[in-house]
């Protein structure tokens, strides 16, 4: 049974008429958390976020409070918001930027206070024209309202927030690639170490990079206390989380539900959530956390939606996007398309990723459209093994960023779960699904 009694922490204004406007925001308690935060010390605000045990909502799931505590003390530091949401079938940050941009902006200002940064930047994916317009409008209105700029609400605290448009590159979701782009360069992920921008980030200065959903939680945490947030969920996975559900479901969409207390089955089948599969089709596979995550078979539908719970079963909750593949969908075609995505989005710095993705895409294409050979299946696994040696999870790193080692996930999953489909493609000389 789905547990749906948790508060709507970040989606309370989604669907609310005028919820994205300053007027709508103020009418629903907007910017009260900022006033409260400014009456507290920055350290006290950071303690609340720490007490909330808020895990980053971008994909890696790093604790936000710990990330904040790692920010190296320096006269010049930055806060950068990662709104470059591009993980396939992830559409929660777009929803937040379009439907409740002030909540994000308030989260940014509170965080800027807690961290005492010099300037904050909100990086919005270029393809989100409406999101860009909504966030820029919210920033403009926040300045006019006195919530942003000089001497915010008479507190003496001053900060500028700059909205920065991206221009279409999945790799810029990687925080170091995002920082390179924000510096006006190609979106090449940076060589590690340094591992964390908290030490060396934007322009070489200490920088915190947080995801849109992560920071959208901050106003609620300040208003209700970190402990109230941590009381939701279980274990390391506290609070609610946005799940973007798509594929073969009746009611695809973004659902905010309490972590761990709900399972994949709840999300897909509950009448208030996914409402079951399209035409009641049986499930072949579920991609549990974005394109990079190893697939789950139908036998794992009862795994709870929690960071560690999904990891224990050899995958990841990642960006919170759940894609349902039905028994009548071609696994080879799905693996091919996801590989084509990685091939297009590989930045080209590292050989295993740049060359490997191309090889894999070409092999999968010929399997799908005709011309595949029986030895292609082993060849796929061999190339995958060159990109992520051992093909374990989490994958071995052979490249600067995690994109490369993520490429094998859909391929090894599809072969492990649906090898007979690959064999049928070879035998049939192309796709058997028509």
């Amino acid at each position: 049974m789905a547990k749906l009694d948790a508060p709507q922490i970040v989606t309370s204004r989604v669907g609310l008429d005028g919820g994205h406007t300053l007027r709508g925001y103020l009418a629903t308690g907007g910017y009260e958390s900022l006033r409260k935060a400014l009456s507290m010390t920055p350290a006290a605000v950071a303690e609340e976020v720490d007490a909330a045990s808020l895990l980053g909502r971008g994909g890696a799931g790093f604790p936000a409070g710990r990330k904040w505590s790692m920010l190296k003390k320096d006269p010049v530091t930055y806060l950068v918001v990662n709104g470059d949401e591009s993980e396939p079938a992830t559409f929660k940050d777009r929803l937040l930027m379009e439907c409740d941009p002030h909540q994000l902006v308030e989260g940014v200002i509170i965080s800027a206070w807690a961290l005492q940064v010099t300037t904050a930047f909100i990086f919005v994916r270029g393809e989100f024209a409406l999101g860009l317009e909504r966030v820029q409008t919210a920033v403009n209105d926040a300045y006019a309202h006195g919530a942003l700029g000089r001497d915010i609400f008479g507190s003496g605290f001053s900060i500028d927030v700059v909205v920065h448009p991206g221009a279409g590159a999945y790799i810029c979701g990687d925080e170091t690639a995002l920082l390179e782009t924000l510096e006006g360069k190609r979106g090449f992920p940076r060589i590690k170490p340094p591992f964390y921008p908290a030490a060396i980030g934007l322009y070489g200065q200490p920088t915190v990079v947080n995801n849109v959903e992560t920071l959208s939680n901050i106003p609620w945490i300040v208003a209700n206390g970190g402990r109230a947030f941590a009381a939701l969920g279980k274990g390391r996975s506290t609070g609610t989380r946005l799940f973007a559900l798509s594929g073969r479901v009746r009611r695809p969409g973004v659902y905010e539900i309490e972590m761990v207390h709900n399972t994949f089955r709840d999300l897909i089948f509950d009448s208030a959530l996914g409402g079951g599969t399209t035409d009641d089709v049986a499930i072949k596979a579920v991609i549990p956390g974005g394109a990079s995550s190893p697939w789950f078979g139908p036998e794992l539908l009862d795994v709870p939606l929690g960071q560690d719970e999904v990891a224990e079963h050899g995958s990841m909750l990642g960006s919170g996007s759940v894609i349902v593949i039905g028994v009548n969908d071609c696994a080879v075609r799905a693996a091919w398309r996801l590989t084509k995505f990685f091939q297009r989005e590989s930045c080209g710095q590292c050989t295993p990723c740049r060359e490997g993705a191309g090889w894999l895409e070409r092999i999968l294409r010929r399997l799908e459209v005709g011309g595949g050979r029986i030895e292609d299946i082993d060849l796929l696994l061999d190339v995958c093994d060159n990109i992520a040696p051992g093909l374990g999870w989490p994958p071995q790193q052979t490249t600067i960023c995690p994109l490369g080692p993520s490429i094998p996930s859909p391929i090894t999953s599809a072969i492990a779960m649906c090898k007979e489909e690959f064999l049928a493609h070879v035998e049939h000389g192309g796709c058997t699904y028509g």
Binding site: G156, G166, R344
Partner: protein, 204 residues
């Protein structure tokens, strides 16, 4: 193109002023050039380089990395059909093939009269209304061939829905103020506050 027209030049300078380092304005300025000309021309990249204190090669290097920058002229409307996983399951490939047929161009090409450029997109993040179509980065939510054809007809006759500007206009909302507290000023102010609070504490 020619150079930035005076109003665009002024907007460009305002954008540069938002960043601690001028080079950070590269992407916003490339978007601005596309807004003026409908694509990112070689001349525009020269001017962006001047404004960002870089070289035209560096601007080209950055711009050519990104899908949204077009270094050759494109149609008034860039139609993007997503075929990534969620859209694939919903018939994205078939919708893209239909768009090719309707427009009479292959992916990446522009119609002869210059109205449409067709693109195959990666996930655009509208997966609950799949297959997803964008026109000039606006979600149009036309998931069937018939609905897509009807929209293309409207655009062809210059009857564009109000929320679809011509290609190049990314955000119609401009920043209303410049930097209110430049970073240098913030650093000085905070140093002063820190010094004052530590001198308060030190006697005890």
């Amino acid at each position: 193109m020619s150079r930035f027209r005076p109003e665009f030049r002024q907007r460009a300078e305002e954008l540069v002023a938002l960043y601690p380092h001028a080079r950070s304005a590269t992407l916003p300025l490339c978007h601005l050039a596309q807004e003026q000309e409908g694509y990112l021309s070689a001349d525009a990249m020269v001017e962006v380089a001047e404004l960002t204190d870089t070289t035209p090669a560096e601007v080209r290097g950055t711009a050519s990395f990104f899908d949204l920058f077009h270094l050759e002229p494109v149609g008034t409307y860039v139609v993007g059909v997503c075929t990534n996983i969620a859209c694939l399951l919903a018939g994205g490939l078939e919708l893209l093939a239909h768009a090719e047929k309707t427009l009479g161009v292959a992916v990446g090409e522009t119609t002869e009269e210059g109205t449409f450029t067709l693109e195959e997109c990666e996930c655009l993040g509208d997966c609950d209304v799949a297959p997803c179509v964008q026109v000039n980065s606006r979600f149009v939510r036309t998931t069937t061939p018939a609905a897509l054809d009807a929209l293309l007809d409207r655009l062809r006759t210059d009857d564009a829905p109000a929320d679809i500007p011509r290609f190049g206009v990314l955000s119609r909302v401009r920043r209303s103020v410049g930097l209110v507290v430049p970073p240098g000023q913030i650093v000085a102010e905070r140093a002063r506050v820190a010094a004052a609070s530590s001198s308060e504490k030190s006697p005890s």
